[in-house]
Each structure stands twice: as structure tokens, then as C-alpha cells.
């Protein structure tokens, strides 16, 4: 496959292997962001209330639901994950 001609990765995700899609007012989103902070895992946050592109991406992954948080860890998509699911994905991708 010629990667240069392939589809572009979702905008805004290029700099971070870990991206949290969620809202500022969601406790579970805050929990995930803080969990990653404590693990010292570099990540970005995309606010699906304000970022339509991010919201569309979440709906694409979740069958049309605006599930938050949805966490992208490398190529793994975790929908409303528990902390042990995040931990497993971080370990799998050698991020902790």
C-alpha cells in the first residue's frame, strides 16, 4: 500500500498517540485525563462539545452514539473504558 496516497489520519491526532475525546463536564472524561496525567502519559484532549470533527469521529467509532469518553490509544479505540482497560491498552502499546 502506498501510504502517501492513503487516507489522512484524523486531524489533530498526529502529535499524540493517546487522544481523549470527551467533554469538560463529564466526570468519567475527567477521570481518564487525570489517570493519564498520573501515569505521565502524554495525551491530547478533544472537546466534542466544541469540536465537530472530533464529535463526528466519535460517532463513527461508536455506531452513532456520542459516547464519552472515547479514548484512542495508538490504533485501539476504547469506548467509555474502565481504568483496567486503559491500562491494558497502554501496556500493549508500550506506553507505560
Amino acid at each position: 500500500m502506498n501510504k502517501d496516497s492513503g487516507p489522512k489520519p484524523p486531524a489533530g491526532d498526529a502529535e499524540h498517540t493517546v487522544v481523549v475525546y470527551g467533554t469538560r463536564w463529564c466526570a468519567a472524561t475527567q477521570y481518564v485525563r487525570r489517570y493519564l496525567d498520573r501515569k505521565d502519559v502524554s495525551h491530547s484532549f478533544r472537546d466534542i462539545d466544541r469540536d465537530q470533527e472530533a464529535a463526528d469521529q466519535v460517532r463513527w467509532w461508536t455506531g452513532g452514539y456520542l459516547s464519552h469518553p472515547t479514548v484512542k490509544i495508538s490504533s485501539d479505540i476504547l469506548v467509555e473504558p474502565l481504568s483496567n482497560e486503559i491500562q491494558a491498552a497502554l501496556e500493549k502499546n508500550n506506553l507505560v
Binding site: A27, Q57, W60, W61, G64, S75, D76, I77, L78
Partner: protein, 235 residues
């Protein structure tokens, strides 16, 4: 060199993610999206076996602990503005889950994060207080203690704290019903429970931060809360 199954999965997943902007809204797009979501759920089930979940909890306990996930949600705008910053925090005494009387002024000398929340067992509240539980070391670092208050009875607080592993005090503003919530201008007349509201009371008993969630299911931003605590500690 042949790809490993993990690499293959990673490549496929990345390609799938990238295709979203390329497709116009259509039933076909929706069907693909649903299929992806179904695969995620199957994958989650498969991973469950290897994930470290507590094995000693009974099914009944698990069921009760997870009730909040399917409980009816709460919605609605705030009906109160709360007390303003700079106000002397009204003193009060309320029982915790062990029926011990807790008096606010006895906590003088520490920053107190007073968390008014609508009700035990409700979805957003469960997540909010669990978030604070996970952050207790950070609160401690900021010389702050967390105190939860709702109109639930002390027995409800006890059961809820047990299933959620909440160790900070939950105070029962049960009788007279909502008296302290009224004192702090956060009682919702239409519901009989309080707003979701936060106060930071400094070591001298002055309210230094006041936040009433504009919508009741909105949890205050914890990054803002920690910023406020850091700023109070610096001043």
C-alpha cells in the same frame, strides 16, 4: 516480512478511523459505524478474561455497585447562584455515615472543598465523587479535605460509600431536610435536593471559590478546581 496479527489489526483500525471524513452521511455509513461499535464490544468481552477484575465480589454486590450506570439521569438548569466568594462560610453541624457529628469550623486550618451533590446512587454523582476519591492524594497535597453533602440519610451515605469505596465524609443534610443546602443557597425548590455545587473554604473559614453547575448533570472541571486550590495556597 509478514505482519503480526496485532500490527494487522492496528493498521486496519487506523484505516477505518481515517475513512470517517471521506464518507457522506448515509444508511451504509451508519451500518459500518454500528458494525465497528459491535466489534469493539466483542473485543471488550474477550479482553475481560485477561483484565484484572476483583474476583471476590458477589454478583449481587456488583449489581448494586453498578446500578448507577443504568439509573435515570438528571437534567435541568441551575435554580440558584450560591453564596458569593468572600463570604464567611456559614457554620453547621451534620452527621456523617457513622452518625458522628461533623462541624465545619472544626476543620479550620485546612482548606475545605465542600461538595454539594443532588443524591446518592444517581449516575453523575457516582462518577463525580469517585473522581474525587481517586484524587485524594492531590487534595492532600493542596492541604485540602473533601466533604460531601446531600439530603440523603446517613444510612444511604453508608451503603453508597461502601459500594463506591468512598472514604471522605458524606454528610446527611436530611433533617431538617436540606437546611444546610438552604444556608449555602443551593437548595433546588423544584426537586427537594441541592444543586451540584462546589465551595472552597480557606483556612480562615472564608469562601474563596464558589461554583454552581449551570446544568445539574455537569460535573465541575477538576483542572479548574485544582488551579483554584493552588492559587489559594499561594496567596
Amino acid at each position: 516480512m509478514a505482519m503480526t496479527p496485532e500490527d494487522r489489526m492496528a493498521e486496519l483500525s487506523q484505516r477505518f478511523s481515517s475513512l470517517e471524513p471521506e464518507l457522506e452521511a448515509s444508511p451504509e455509513k451508519e451500518a459500518l459505524s454500528i458494525l465497528h461499535a459491535m466489534i469493539q464490544e466483542v473485543r471488550r468481552d474477550l479482553l475481560k478474561g485477561s483484565a484484572s477484575t476483583p474476583q471476590d465480589s458477589s454478583q449481587a454486590f456488583e449489581k448494586v455497585a453498578n446500578l448507577y450506570k443504568s439509573a435515570p439521569g438528571m437534567e435541568g438548569p441551575a435554580e440558584n447562584a450560591g453564596l458569593p466568594v468572600g463570604t464567611q462560610a456559614p457554620d453547621f453541624t451534620l452527621p456523617n455515615a457513622n452518625a458522628e457529628e461533623i462541624t465545619l469550623s472544626d476543620l479550620r486550618g485546612k482548606n475545605v472543598v465542600l461538595v454539594f451533590y443532588p443524591l446518592d446512587w444517581s449516575p453523575a454523582c457516582s462518577d463525580q465523587l469517585s473522581l474525587y476519591q481517586s484524587e485524594l492524594p492531590e487534595f492532600d497535597k493542596n492541604d485540602a479535605v473533601v466533604v460531601g453533602i446531600s439530603v440523603d440519610s446517613l444510612y444511604s451515605h453508608g451503603a453508597w460509600a461502601a459500594v463506591r469505596d468512598i472514604t471522605f465524609p458524606l454528610l446527611a443534610d436530611f433533617h431538617p431536610h436540606g437546611e444546610v443546602s438552604r444556608l449555602y443557597k443551593v437548595m433546588r425548590p423544584s426537586n427537594g435536593f441541592s444543586e451540584r455545587a462546589l465551595y472552597i473554604i480557606d483556612r480562615q473559614g472564608i469562601i474563596r471559590y464558589s461554583h454552581v453547575s449551570p446544568l445539574i448533570h455537569h460535573i465541575p472541571d477538576i483542572y479548574e478546581l485544582f488551579e483554584q486550590l493552588e492559587s489559594i495556597n499561594k496567596s
